[in-house]
């Protein structure tokens, strides 16, 4: 990896300052304002532009973070004209030509969010203030995303969210400087419920185990609302701490609770542990209420599936994207294979949905800047709002202006019973069309506000 030296240097620099940054208040100092020439924060001088990649390198979502970083580095390579261009070949917009963005070479710095909002804010602030990042992107947790998004709004920086699934990010916590490509809990619920009702019947009793933070809550709510609409009953909903590693005491009571479906509103390390516990306690093989006991994992990822091993067999969930999408569902999802090939040849394994979404976000940002002719956040926001595009692996997609959320098809996946190899763990069961997962932006409340260029 040719960029590794840059990454480590940036990380050490950022990390060393992050500690000091934690102590200072969140208001910005005069320096940033003073340095804001041309009317917005960190306007790139010279012939380079710096992007800030804020990913979890430790904590329960560290796996996703590592994959995000790989995808970011690939995107930068492609933007600067290297490699095989990846999804730039299939992207519907052709304004990017491999000469960087607006003629400036793309450089980057990285930070460790540690999957904790405070640490994420500190590292983002450091990248903005010390490294002159003109855009912050990344993260695998909605708690982090909401926190960093708010920080970027204050600072006059664009935030291109990474993997964040909670409704809040473009719902009640939406911000004008923030943009999310990844789907959300509502869409998962809407996509999953019909499939679950179809496979498991309408007369089911669900027990929810939910990660105790904003993503957990909105996912639980989305699944409950959509399944209850199909006739399911929610027997119980228990919150589990995000830092929890041993879920045995939460799983143990499930079998006797009267429920016959366990919904795990968990992600990353949480899901690996809770699912393993559930299987160890015999839930998969059990019967309740005269039916087979089932487990549902509303938000899936292949990396999690790898961690959980054969425990995922037969378990339903949803994802934003999967590397086999174009092969399974056709040319509508062009871009998938190009990205898989590009990523796979460089790193030796297929990309996860986390990698995919952040790669798309980087390209979308670059494309918006190119089309707007400027890095000014307001110009970029205008270029992205209500922008329709295709060729980035999800089929036709629209960045809705009312809440800065992308709308596209959603995948329902299932753990394979007999995987061929370690990347072949999930199979796509259905692709739910965009219309079925759309909603009125008003249902989540929140105020978008106006864009903040920082000057």
């Amino acid at each position: 990896m040719s960029n590794s030296k840059l990454t480590r240097r940036g990380l050490i620099k950022t990390g060393a300052v992050a500690g000091a940054g934690l102590a200072t208040p969140t208001l910005f100092t005069g320096n940033v304002w003073a340095a804001a020439h041309a009317g917005y924060t960190n306007a790139p001088q010279g012939d380079t532009v710096t992007l800030g990649f804020n990913v979890p390198q430790t904590g329960p979502y560290a796996d996703e973070g590592a994959d995000e970083l790989r995808a970011y580095q690939l995107a930068v390579e492609h933007l600067n004209g290297g490699g095989d261009g990846g999804m730039m070949q299939t992207f519907s917009s052709k304004v990017l030509d491999g000469t960087g963005i607006l003629g400036k070479k793309v450089e980057f710095v990285t930070g460790d969010t540690q999957t904790k909002p405070d640490a994420a804010r500190a590292s983002a602030r450091s990248m903005i203030e010390k490294d002159g990042a003109v855009m912050i992107t990344g993260g695998s947790s909605s708690g982090v995303a909401v926190a960093v998004q708010a920080l970027c709004q204050e600072a006059g920086i664009i935030f291109m969210a990474g993997l964040t699934h909670s409704n809040d990010t473009t719902g009640k916590d939406k911000k004008a400087n923030g943009f999310r490509h990844f789907f959300n809990s509502y869409m998962s619920g809407a996509a999953l419920a019909p499939i679950l009702a179809d496979r498991y019947g309408n007369d089911r009793k669900a027990y929810h185990l939910t990660a105790d933070y904003n993503w957990g809550y909105t996912t639980e709510e989305a699944v409950r609302t959509s399944t209850e609409a199909m006739g399911w009953e929610t027997v119980a909903a228990v919150k589990t701490p995000l830092a929890q590693t041993d879920f045995s005491s939460y799983v143990a009571p499930v079998l006797n609770s009267g429920a016959d479906v366990l919904v795990l509103n968990h992600y990353g390390g949480n899901m690996v542990n809770s699912l393993t516990s559930a299987v160890q306690f015999g839930l998969r093989a059990a019967e309740a209420n005269g039916k087979n006991f089932e487990i549902v994992v509303p938000l899936y990822s292949r990396l999690m599936a790898k961690g959980a091993g054969e425990n995922v067999a037969g378990i339903f969930g949803s994802t934003n994207w999967h590397w086999s999408l174009e092969n399974v569902a056709g040319a509508k999802y062009a871009g998938t294979n190009a990205f898989v090939k590009s990523f796979g040849e460089k790193y030796g394994f297929p990309p996860s949905q986390a990698a995919h979404t952040v790669y798309c976000q980087t390209l979308l940002y670059a494309d918006a800047a190119q089309r707007a002719g400027s890095f000014n956040p307001c110009a970029i926001a205008e270029a992205l709002e209500d922008y329709s595009f295709d060729g980035l692996g999800n089929g036709p997609t629209m960045y809705r202006g009312a809440d800065h959320q992308c709308f596209k098809d959603v995948l329902v996946v299932k753990g394979k019973e007999n995987p061929d190899n370690e990347f072949d763990l999930l199979e796509i069961v259905d692709v739910t069309p965009t219309e079925q997962v759309s909603y009125d932006p008003a249902i989540f409340g929140g105020e978008l506000g106006s864009c903040n260029p920082g000057a």
Binding site: V238, T245, S248, S249, P253, Q280, F281, D424
Partner: protein
């Protein structure tokens, strides 16, 4: 009622880990008078002994299988462990399958050595320093060890599954006449509990029935007088440190299928283990074991849905609450000797 039994079983399991770590902590505190905040790291190192052995056993050569393709459409590269070549596929797979129990043998000499090196290299310089110094130094050591592991093994959990024979669960209910399927408990967790009891028993037997053990007991009770009898207790205490390290390490080895090892597991267990030691009575070995199980069961009960509904958030604080209550009413802990740690 089933719920209660289930949670007791759960608690015994977690409690076993706490008891083993607390046992080692108390041994070290009782003999060397050192507060060892690196003990959780020893638990973590034991778990990573298992990971290392699994990796060693799994060292493979790559073979290209033309008949299958990988995700990019290229011929699939298949890994064949050298063990398969040496012992045949069946035996080789069995050995790899049993990596976790085999790690016990692998881990014992490693953990004892690590313990001895830690003690001779670092801890012994802090025997007569205030406890605050000891805490700082050992905590620093714990962080260093943690970061070393994170550097070599990555930040993610590394699965270390139990042998095939122990996957699945035991239907307690059916065995004891209750409703079938009411009380189900995974086999490996039962194995862990039994293993912990054997280990605890071994430590106590060692202390009671061997001469070395007698010297250690004497040294824990009255170090000064043991010196008067011509015995250089420091040397024996070094070995005791190694043994305590091995106990913590073995607790970690067998814990891997229950919770996949990650670099942070030492810290997760450390704080609670200290609470256990203090609640049990610092310097009391039976107290440490008892408190470990009691607090494990308490934690388990506090995670029950009914309890959380009644007292939200109780699951996260119950152990500390219990510690506060016990220490306020009985400062020397459950089984501590009067006057120990009341300075």
């Amino acid at each position: 009622m089933d719920q209660i039994i289930l949670q007791i079983l759960n608690g015994l399991d977690k409690g076993s880990a706490y008891a083993l770590i607390a046992l080692g902590l108390t041994l070290i505190f009782g003999t060397l008078g050192v507060v060892n905040f690196a003990h959780g790291a020893l638990f973590m190192l034991g778990a990573f002994c298992t990971v290392t052995l699994s990796r060693l056993l799994g060292i493979s050569r790559t073979v290209i299988d033309e008949t299958r393709t990988d995700f990019l459409g290229n011929p699939l590269k298949v890994e064949i462990p050298y063990l398969y070549d040496w012992f045949g596929e069946a035996t080789g797979a069995a050995i790899i399958d049993w990596a976790v129990p085999l790690s016990i043998i692998f881990a014992i000499p490693i953990m004892i050595s690590i313990g001895v090196i830690m003690e001779r290299g670092l801890i012994k310089h802090f025997y007569n320093r205030p406890h605050a110094d000891q805490i700082l130094v050992t905590f620093g050591l714990a962080i260093v060890l943690q970061e070393i592991i994170k550097y070599y093994f990555g930040a993610n959990q590394i699965p270390a599954p139990a042998p095939e024979a122990f996957t699945g669960s035991f239907d307690f209910g059916a065995a004891f006449g209750a409703k079938a399927g009411a009380i189900i408990y995974p086999y490996w967790r039962i194995v862990y509990f039994c293993f912990a009891m054997i280990l605890i028993g071994a430590v106590f037997a060692f202390l009671r029935f061997t001469t070395f053990g007698m010297v250690v007991r004497a040294g824990m009770a009255d170090r000064e007088t043991v010196g008067l009898l011509g015995i250089n207790i420091d040397r024996r205490f070094t070995i005791m440190f190694g043994i305590a390290a091995a106990v913590a390490g073995l607790a970690g080895v067998m814990y891997t299928p229950i919770n996949s090892p990650n670099y942070h597991m030492g810290m997760d267990f450390l704080v609670i283990s200290f609470v256990v030691v203090v609640v049990g009575g610092m310097g009391s070995l039976p107290g440490a074991v008892l408190a470990g199980f009691v607090l494990g069961i308490l934690e388990s009960f506090a995670s029950m849905r009914e309890v959380i509904e009644f007292l939200p958030g109780i699951n996260q604080v119950v152990i500390y609450l219990a510690a506060i209550i016990i220490l306020l009413t009985r400062p020397r802990g459950l089984m501590g000797r009067k006057g120990v740690m009341e300075d």
